[in-house]
């Protein structure tokens, strides 16, 4: 019997600026699939007024050698202007936004609202039986809040995935 071995992995946040051309997202996502890399989250949006350039943030994990290959393979794509490994380049801030729907009455509902205050989650929609909370923070913070809501009527979670930026005055 042969077994597939697993190596120890690290989490990295990669920031890419790319030409906003047709198929670029498919190209990047497909590269990860074709070469067996992992995508934990991926966000993409235009960042220039003329819609020519997009910024993509990818959270991935893998052994250090694989992370290095991922960067090299991404840099090889023609429409990719640059790839910055925020984890390596750091320190950096990373944020994620989540919408969390909680349904309940009575004590559970009061407790959900109280915990939301602790986490600085804002109710952005409410009925007498539900809340939709908006929460911004690191993925860990959102994980904790979502876990707490599990006992208090959590019915739906939507998360944007991570965006990140290097701290300090220099730009990437």
């Amino acid at each position: 019997m042969t077994k597939i071995e697993q190596e120890a992995t690290e989490r990295h946040v990669l920031m890419l600026t790319v030409d906003n051309e047709a198929g670029i997202l498919a190209k990047i996502a497909g590269l990860f699939t074709a070469r067996g890399y992992n995508i934990d989250s991926l966000t993409v949006s235009e960042i220039t007024g003329d819609h020519q350039v997009s910024r993509i943030t990818i959270v991935t994990h893998g052994p250090p050698a694989v992370i290095d290959q991922i960067r090299a393979q991404l840099e090889r794509l023609i429409p990719v202007h640059k790839v910055v490994d925020l984890t390596e380049q750091g320190p950096y801030v990373e944020r994620e936004l989540a919408l969390i729907k909680v349904v309940g009455k009575g004590e559970a509902r009061v407790e959900a609202l109280r915990l939301a205050e602790v986490f600085r989650a804002r109710p952005v929609d409410t009925t007498t039986e539900s809340f939709v909370f908006e929460l911004t923070g690191t993925p860990e913070k959102i994980d904790s809040f979502v876990a707490l809501m599990g006992d208090l009527g959590l019915v739906e979670t939507a998360r944007t995935g991570v965006v990140g930026m290097i701290r300090g005055k220099s730009s990437t």
């Binding site: 030409d19 497909g30 090299a72 840099e75 023609i78």
Partner: protein, 580 residues
Amino acid sequence: MTEERSGAQILVESLVRQGVEFVFGYPGGAVLPIYDALFGEERLRHILVRHEAGAAHAAEGYARSTGKPGVVLVTSGPGATNAVTGIADAFLDSIPLVVITGQVGTPLIGSDAFQEADTVGITRHCCKHNYLVKDPANLAAVIDEAFQIATTGRPGPVVIDIPKDVQIATANFPEGPVQRRNRYSPQLAGGEAEIAQAVDLIAKAKAPVFYTGGGVINSGPRASELLRELQALTKAPVTSTLMGLGAFPADHEDWLGMLGMHGTYEANWAMNQADLIICVGARFDDRVTGRLDAFAPNSTKIHIDIDRASINKTVRVDLPIIGDCATVLQQILDGWKGRKAQDLTAWKARVTEWRAKKSLSYAENPAAIPPQRAIERLFELTKAHDPIISTEVGQHQMWAAQHFHFFGPNKWLTSGGLGTMGYGLPAIIGAQLGNPGKLCIDIAGEASIQMNIQELGTATQYRLPVKIFILNNEWMGMVRQWQELTYESRYSNSYSDSLPDFVKLAQAYGWKGISIENEGQLDAGIQEMIDYDGPVIVDCRVAKDANCFPMIPSGAAHTDMLLPGDVVSGTMDDEAKALV
């Protein structure tokens, strides 16, 4: 002054401006406007192939033998999907191609229209870059950039998908050169610190070896010259990958032969025992390294490569130098400045011992021609012509790599990375077009040659005097060899049954057919092939059970080579089976 022209006319005019001589193609519904623009066009020569895979491989052969980009023109849907194997082949072997595919009209895209395929999607991961052009006004700039991307940096195929309505619609076509976006500018020169370090490492090495690859060929003939110059200063032995053969002359005393799975004993041992490996334009492919944890364990490794993604992909190297082979070799030569290399006498003495193993020897066979002998005689009788050789894929390919010898770049055309059976015939057709008057030979196996046999008609049509030399052993020999070594000789579907009569087949296409059945006919048959002014198939019957040695079995290290005459066990554990 600008002028309104149709997309098809802009395409044709742009190809002419790029200096394109040949377009390898096949017409169809979605490229009819382009074919109409080609009608009567005398500045471009369209070569009508018999299958789109043939077009792509022919363009590869043309590119590899001339150093110029190959151009392919095929229709949408099946035209494009048939070309995909050639595109993937060019991608793995870094061959510059510009592939133009027709597409259904833009309003029909996504509607499952007749002969619609998502060409951009299908080719996305097997080409260097691709485009879907939706406006004829962008066409000139796209074509200009496509040629730049295909031919610079690490070369590769670029696909341009052009919907039919874009071929018909008109746009301004400026007279002068197009404005380039300049978003692609590969680094050519290595860093100064790295160059200085490389010079130092090379000068201090006591057991160095040059491990060269296809990158030296792709960098242009100058790279081969510079490699020879650097070697002359250091006297280090040289080995090469399959793709790099010809960069260093095979009759040189420091030539080790090819390395890797079917490489020579001396090449693989030199790699294993070296204290410094200077990798020039090669990529530590699995067929070269064998078992990774046992690969060249005690060496410092310098890796010169224009593709940053090739660095540390499989083997960790100590000194990466990102840059073009010729430029970096020149930098190292400039940095050498009268340095003195170490005395390599002791190292060379070890190499001589390994050479004494005579790992390319083979058993005589009174009953049948040993296939290695056939290649040796083919080499001896044709070498004065400085021929261009292509191959298909399998045992014959490895025997050709081992027993045919090359003295310059661009003479050896083979499918190394993808290992595409059916590559050799169309490739030699492309090579012959790019090298009129040269002796061009496809060394083939009886199984591989049938994969693109239809291209016989292409050679006939364009009066190309190409030669096909078939080593006919009635088996998919490499498959049979592996079944023998790994699967206890259970020969599952590897027998070439129902073979055609190749001599009659040749005649049916207007070629000459020659049959060689025994060693007595070998030289005369080869000479007859050389002397005939026209295309020839030689059906050379060789020993049916010959295996290709030396061989590093799957999962083994360079030091565990099987040599001719070794007794080979009939099975392998699952781990070894999975490794290859």
